[in-house]
């Protein structure tokens, strides 16, 4: 295919990034015990831009030592203090938003307009949210009879292990770290090996905020650093975002240690467009078209990517014409350029995998409505991982309708009735996200209730505000994030059952 000549604004300057980063353990930067580092490759150009410490079991043990030393004190700090420190972290991130957004773009490959407008602002807000809710949090008390009182108090679980994905490196870390710290836990965090740098740049900024050992970050490869963390008998819980096989493996380790887990394991989210969407060619219709094109947000590397468009057959032509037109207008280019709308896929293997799905999609007879290939960009991006936003038309039994491609690829099919739309929507292993677009007040309530998914966006898509619980049904996992209920994912309940009766029972 021909190479796309870029005509766009100049990329912004790269912030200073160190040649290499150590682990962050016990409040200090600690060299890996092996002395080894690995290259961190930027998806922008496929070139190494920094190195990360290659962690192993010894490093994980060191981090667990630090966390266990910190826990007795941290678990007894006042909510007021924990809240103040989380707010301080948020303030520091806010002061450094632009720099962190640029580092995140270099690390992950996503467009700067997304890290500036979504990733970093959400990071800040999630720290503030958990700083806020912990102040208003209450335990419960109940009087069972006039002499007997039950107090249900929260106590932090202890030292937890948190394994972070690479698609929103800082935001996904925040979703896990903020509630754990708010609840009074100490944590050992293992970032993804594709994106180990931005979190270390953040650690440099906030190194002195928390007491040493409360928050520890060990970089490295899954089998070498992730496995000893997830299988350690010294953790009280594992929180994981990733795919199903690793999720099962982590649950297997957790079963050996009898500890709880939370799992967020992806999806194949249906985005349903009812007939009434096209009742008028107005701003709502325009919003719905944008909602369908949301599959290209973050290059499609979102577990809730609306990767299946289900559209009523009567409006297919008028609706999809606009969706294809809008998709073709997506400006690809240098992720650090301010006018780039979609950047690079996060890694070479991801890039290859997406192309292999385009291949099987075509073999299965799906029709390519736009895109369908890699994007060959020039101007120094020839070796980066760029893929054209792609729309396939087909049916729901095709593999491109059933597997999470994790790229800018959407598959569209039609339905005749509401029942058929719901049946297709639920014909999937997963149940994380879904979208429902309609002008009909009854459908707006009834259809989302019938969809087996943890989050149904109604007349919107891809908003992730704090205080709206997020998590999966079916093989998309369990547990919720982004909400104060997360505090209880990191706490035990201590029940004190108290008798105020001076008289004996009279049994013995």
């Amino acid at each position: 295919m021909s190479t796309l000549t870029l005509s766009q604004s100049k990329p912004v300057d790269r912030p200073k990034i160190k040649e290499k980063y150590d682990h962050f353990i016990g409040g200090k930067f600690v060299a890996p015990s092996s002395g080894e580092y690995f290259d961190n490759i930027s998806p922008i150009d496929g070139k190494a831009f920094s190195k990360a410490a290659r962690g192993n079991k010894a490093d994980i043990e060191l981090a667990l030592d630090a966390a266990h030393e910190a826990f007795p004190t941290w678990s007894k700090t006042t909510p007021a203090l924990r809240s103040k420190l989380l707010n301080k972290i948020a303030d520091i991130i806010e002061e450094n938003l632009e720099m962190l957004a640029r580092v995140e773009t270099i690390d992950n490959g996503k467009a700067l307009r997304e890290t500036r407008a979504a990733d970093l602002p959400l990071v800040i807000d999630h720290f503030r949210y958990f700083a806020g809710v912990i102040r208003a949090d209450e335990s419960t008390i109940s009087e069972h009879d006039e002499h007997t009182v039950s107090i249900a108090l929260h106590e932090p679980l202890g030292v937890v292990g948190q394994i972070i994905p690479w698609n929103f490196p800082l935001l996904m870390a925040t979703w896990k770290i903020a509630p754990a710290l708010a609840a009074g836990c100490c944590t050992v965090v293992k970032p993804a090996e594709q994106t180990p740098t931005s979190i270390m740049v953040l650690m440099e900024l906030i190194a002195d905020v928390l007491p040493p050992g409360v928050l520890n970050v060990v970089t490295g490869f899954g089998p070498e650093a992730g496995k000893p963390l997830a299988s350690s008998p010294r953790i009280a819980k594992v929180s994981f975002t990733g795919e199903t096989t690793t999720g099962r493996l982590i649950m297997q380790y957790a079963s050996e240690n009898l500890i709880p887990v939370t799992m967020e394991l992806g999806g194949k989210s249906p985005n349903i467009f009812m007939k009434s969407v096209a009742d008028a060619d107005d701003e709502f219709f325009d919003k719905a078209v944008e909602g369908a094109v949301m599959f290209a947000l973050n290059q499609g590397e979102i577990c809730t990517c609306p990767s299946r468009i289900l559209v009523h057959e009567d409006i297919y032509d008028v609706f999809m014409e606009k969706v294809v037109e809008r998709t073709k207008a997506i400006k690809m280019g240098h992720p650090l350029a301010e006018d780039t709308m979609m950047g690079a896929q996060a890694s070479n293997d991801q890039y290859e995998k997406i192309l292999s799905y385009m291949d099987i999609g075509k073999q299965e007879g799906a029709e390519v409505l736009c895109g369908g290939d890699k994007a060959s960009l020039n101007s120094g991006l020839e070796t980066g991982y760029y893929i054209q936003p792609t729309i396939f038309k087909g049916h729901n039994k095709m593999r491109i309708f059933q597997e999470e491609i994790f790229g800018p690829v959407v598959s569209v099919t039609t339905f005749k009735t509401t029942e058929e739309a719901i049946a297709i929507a639920n014909d999937t292993m997963y149940g994380l996200g879904a979208g429902l677009w309609s002008r009909d007040a009854h459908e707006l309530y009834q259809v989302p209730r019938a969809i087996q998914a943890g989050r149904v966006w109604v007349n919107c898509y891809h908003n992730y505000p704090a205080h709206a619980p997020f998590g999966g049904y079916k093989k998309s996992g369990f547990g919720r994030e982004n909400h104060l209920m997360m505090l209880d994912h990191y706490r035990q309940t201590k029940n004190m059952l108290i008798s105020y009766d001076k008289n004996k029972l009279g049994f013995f």
Binding site: T245, L249, G266
Partner: protein, 138 residues
């Protein structure tokens, strides 16, 4: 081992063979694969030391690939069973517990549709539990 009279469900590339050979020198002869689904590194095959990943009744054995059992979850298999998988390798940085990742490479799957004749002659599948029982008898 793979029976010649059947069409295999999973085959592998030369570079996948070389990679398995390298991994065997470090981890021993007995390796296994489990095909993942879901986000991030999902939809990729994961390589483990045999027995590290516990398979059971919800897993389907697709065949023996260069001496390694290859499994997939039953639900996922329902959507994959009409395609032949080729185990291949690409440079890249996966993030999972698959043992080849520190080498800077990643196992991946390429797929093609079975022909009508092939579909009638596919290697019979077994559940993970049946494979475990057979292994115990050996």
């Amino acid at each position: 081992m793979t029976d010649q009279k059947y069409t295999p469900r999973v085959i592998l590339s030369e570079v996948a063979i070389e990679t398995i050979d390298i991994l065997r020198k470090r981890f021993g002869n007995d390796l296994m694969f489990h095909q993942s689904g879901g986000c991030c590194d999902g939809s990729s095959p994961m390589c483990f030391e045999k027995g590290d990943f516990k398979v059971g009744t919800s897993d389907i054995w697709l065949g023996d690939v260069y001496g390694c059992d290859f499994f997939m979850n039953q639900d996922q298999f329902e959507y994959w069973k009409h395609t032949q998988l080729t185990l291949d390798v690409t440079p890249g940085r996966g993030s999972s517990f698959s043992i080849e990742i520190p080498m800077g490479i990643r196992f991946m799957i390429r797929s093609r549709l079975f022909t009508t004749e092939e579909l009638e002659n596919l290697i019979p599948t077994k559940t993970g539990e049946e494979v475990l029982e057979e292994n115990q008898l050996k």
